[in-house]
Symmetry: D2
Amino acid sequence: MINVGIVGISGYTGKFLLKILLNHPKVRINYIAAGSTKGKLEEIHPEFIGKSDLVCDEFDLQKATDHCDVVFLAVPHTKSIEITPGLLKAGKRVIDLSADYRLKNADTYQAWYEKAHTDPQSLAQAVYGLPELYKEDIKNARLLANPGCYPTAAILALAPFVSTQTRNIQTIVIDAKSGVSGAGRKATLSLHFCEVNENFKAYKVLAHQHTPEINQCLSQLAQDNVDVTFVAHLLPINQGIYETIYVHCGQAVNAEKTHQLYTKFYKTEPFVRVLPLGQQPEIKNIVNTNYCDIGLAAKGNLLVITASIDNLVKGAAGQAVQNMNIMYGFPENTGLTQ
Amino acid sequence: MINVGIVGISGYTGKFLLKILLNHPKVRINYIAAGSTKGKLEEIHPEFIGKSDLVCDEFDLQKATDHCDVVFLAVPHTKSIEITPGLLKAGKRVIDLSADYRLKNADTYQAWYEKAHTDPQSLAQAVYGLPELYKEDIKNARLLANPGCYPTAAILALAPFVSTQTRNIQTIVIDAKSGVSGAGRKATLSLHFCEVNENFKAYKVLAHQHTPEINQCLSQLAQDNVDVTFVAHLLPINQGIYETIYVHCGQAVNAEKTHQLYTKFYKTEPFVRVLPLGQQPEIKNIVNTNYCDIGLAAKGNLLVITASIDNLVKGAAGQAVQNMNIMYGFPENTGLTQ
Amino acid sequence: MINVGIVGISGYTGKFLLKILLNHPKVRINYIAAGSTKGKLEEIHPEFIGKSDLVCDEFDLQKATDHCDVVFLAVPHTKSIEITPGLLKAGKRVIDLSADYRLKNADTYQAWYEKAHTDPQSLAQAVYGLPELYKEDIKNARLLANPGCYPTAAILALAPFVSTQTRNIQTIVIDAKSGVSGAGRKATLSLHFCEVNENFKAYKVLAHQHTPEINQCLSQLAQDNVDVTFVAHLLPINQGIYETIYVHCGQAVNAEKTHQLYTKFYKTEPFVRVLPLGQQPEIKNIVNTNYCDIGLAAKGNLLVITASIDNLVKGAAGQAVQNMNIMYGFPENTGLTQ
Amino acid sequence: MINVGIVGISGYTGKFLLKILLNHPKVRINYIAAGSTKGKLEEIHPEFIGKSDLVCDEFDLQKATDHCDVVFLAVPHTKSIEITPGLLKAGKRVIDLSADYRLKNADTYQAWYEKAHTDPQSLAQAVYGLPELYKEDIKNARLLANPGCYPTAAILALAPFVSTQTRNIQTIVIDAKSGVSGAGRKATLSLHFCEVNENFKAYKVLAHQHTPEINQCLSQLAQDNVDVTFVAHLLPINQGIYETIYVHCGQAVNAEKTHQLYTKFYKTEPFVRVLPLGQQPEIKNIVNTNYCDIGLAAKGNLLVITASIDNLVKGAAGQAVQNMNIMYGFPENTGLTQ
């Protein structure tokens, strides 16, 4: 039984961490905090009425260190940098769901997030928490940078091919679509029901901050510079990401062999499902689960990969708990099977 | 050709006024304004790109009076009171879509809208703009109080019965459901897509500000005090109101006779459709139209009336234009048939 | 560890039984069947890929009795009558989610379901499975009639008041709204996405087959004849029921006392949450849970009760599992807390 | 005033033809028919109550030729081939919204639609009705093949670039998303509300029948063989298409120059809006209109084009009326401005 804390419980990611961890058999939630939201959890999120007596307050380092072995940070980017050093110094483990410790290069961080990185020391030791690729590193992580939602789907969809077919690849296009919870629980007009419902649009075209995160990881896998084209779109649904990925190659792509490559690559992974050839993922099959479903198709020199995850589960809270399980030696799917 | 102005173009009602009036053959939109939104119309609402060169600014009485014969006020309640007196004084006609001039009793206004009514003089001359009941008054109105969305459906659904069966009625329950645009175009968390989508809830139970408006009009029709039970709910759709109304009577209700009563009552009205017995309204049949569809059913002493309108059209902008048509002697359905 | 079977896995109720029971720690699903759907479960519902090796076939009494201790019937009404007698004869317990054994009077069944009841013998021994009211009977049930979705919410919402204030009540109106899964997984035009989305309508007005079920149970509680007014509506969401109930009384209703009555009535029930006065249920707070949330308001002689459940969980599969837990002496919430 | 007929009024395209043509000032709808749907229009589509006395029956060549100058065919593919020859022989003009006369090569038709083309004679004279490219041919068309919904957006999005930058283009990827009405008004389980709502998926990956239509038109514009990659997806909304198009080039693409190229290309077209650089289309801005909105972005050798239309308007019924206007010398936007 470990003692955990969650900072940032007013957002959707924080709420999903609560939902998952309240049912986790190896965990006791001992501490919750948020930026400006205070009060009983059941008043903040009435769905928890009768399920918890937790009370939320502003983050307090002393309280957090007194009550927790590990702290989940579900806060906006640039906030984690402020909180993390103190927790690490107190010997606590940190699972950061913000973007603050994902980009290894502090200049890249500054370029995309428009703030100087003030904690390069922690950044150097942060482990990128994509369990399917970095399980060994995760086991010993003190500071875990939980991947972004779009990058999780993109990297899982591309890893087998990019790590083995590096020289064959000419261009990679990621056409990504996300449900609205991916934009956060913010009171802005652009997320008003009537602005999103029965609508669809591209946004931050060729300028989305998840692009360098995808490139960083794929370049490492390829041991070469990879530069993807990434366009994000807003889907009028609550949860779910769908990415359709087009890989143009120098030579013909064999669908069956590629399917075998993927099946083998993820053979022992509990949360990646490579679908039979001819079948495509659907968001409804993965929503509220920690799965990443992957579909494959090929024609001539083109490989088309489709991948789908729940942005709040495998794309955020679920993956964070999967990482915690690995960090503490619990079975990887503990608390994540419903 | 008359010259019109619209104040409050950034909200949904203002946008629908623009949509309707830009296609109205007898109207020239000469002036637009809004509270805090400024700039070209096509930048504020990109759907108007290529359709209009209008530019929006803060409300300016001089500009409005210089350019308009009649001004539509699609502003929040308590704002119309500030604007209307000046316009009337300058000899302009005003069609007010806010709640400011609907309640004849200034104390009732203060009780429900939590602000003293500072313009009792105009209030005294305001005409309640429900064309199916007050057409003659509307013709000569200088200040027209356009009805609320819920009251429009409720009053049209009840008028034939209440005005003829007054003594038979014991209780009236109005279970009302509205699409989200009825809540306005505001950046608030409670209207965030994920808070509304796949959700449904009652709100302001027994405390909705449209209740006195319904009671005022029905009491006048009944020439007796009518006090309805009204509960509002939020539907996860963009546009549309649906009201299911339960009238318990002292004596048995005859469905066929009631249907004849309704059919006769609305025989010459272009925008009220009394459906055949056994058929119920559906929001999809009236969305983006100025229709009010009404269904009837009866059993024992109970009459069940269902009514549906588009809250932005018959419940706001469409009815306002219908009123304008009557005020200016245009055919009542001009600009309202698509 | 008990062995269960599920008949009717192609529908939404069957799928939710699978979802819940696959994670139930005391259960082994040993048998699945469906009317016309055959094949591997993961081909029928791809969301179960990697989670189960079950194969579906037509119902076969021998196989069912060989492999199961208890069989869940998630089949259309009139089908359970055909299957149940054989299972009971073989000594198996049956949890029937159809309407076939809910109405104690075979004539009433015939009047509303348009088929003669051919199994009056089993009907006589069937237990109505609303755990909050009939827990003792459920413990020993051989044939359990799982309540309808609308009746579950209606009865839970009314039970405390009806059972104690019988003589005070004059009329009861239930304005009920249900998500689309309540209509079943059928290929009909009226359930086509574009016919339902952005729409809302009343249906089967004053003629819904759940009415006698509600009346039967409330009359028993009141020890008097209760005859509710019930109107159903179709909500454009996947899951969730919301009922707004208007109880007109002969005397004034005290909100605080009524709230105390409800709080006390459901004090030990794990799945009924009486909300604080002034707070209303929202479907999003109970979706995918087995909760029934209840809100209360009163004014003069009127009591307004709002109640919300997930039609597929507390209104079907979840309640069926809750009943199974009681029948087998497991903690009542086993497998139902996520 | 011309006399028109519509065959196939039970589907969404037929319904939108009715909506548009009932308000068209130059048109009298004299004849309606459908495959298996019969009766009064207002019973088939209650939204037309009070708007039309038309009665629908099975298609009858004699009646159609007696009452119509031009007939719109909103029927499934392979049905138009049966109806068209008789109408042409009788001297009537035909606007076919099915796929039957779009592909110039009968073998290609057979390969993608799995039926031999039995009317090569009419096919030879059919005009492809994309007004922005083929206005002169449309003026004299006797048989007009109204373009597919996906091809309309794709071709308009690509025409300026493909017709001028042919040699520079290396690959074209069209990631297309469509609202559900594009799948037709069919009673199939895959279009059940709960299967589509809160879901998203790719379908017919690399195998969609609109691919050859796009290639045929672009190849003609390029005067060279063009072979696009096309993947379709199902959006959980009623109406609207969004296409994100990735054009990899041999040389750098200049965004400003490309924007000028597009602006000039569509300068005089009333229904194509090239958005300012940096702005992207949104479905909500074009829904229920005949517009095609186009956005542009570029980076290095890559051009990203976003395009959005309403599949039922510019992608079907609206474009068909636009074509009719051109065929009869009416202003191109008659009846299409609301």
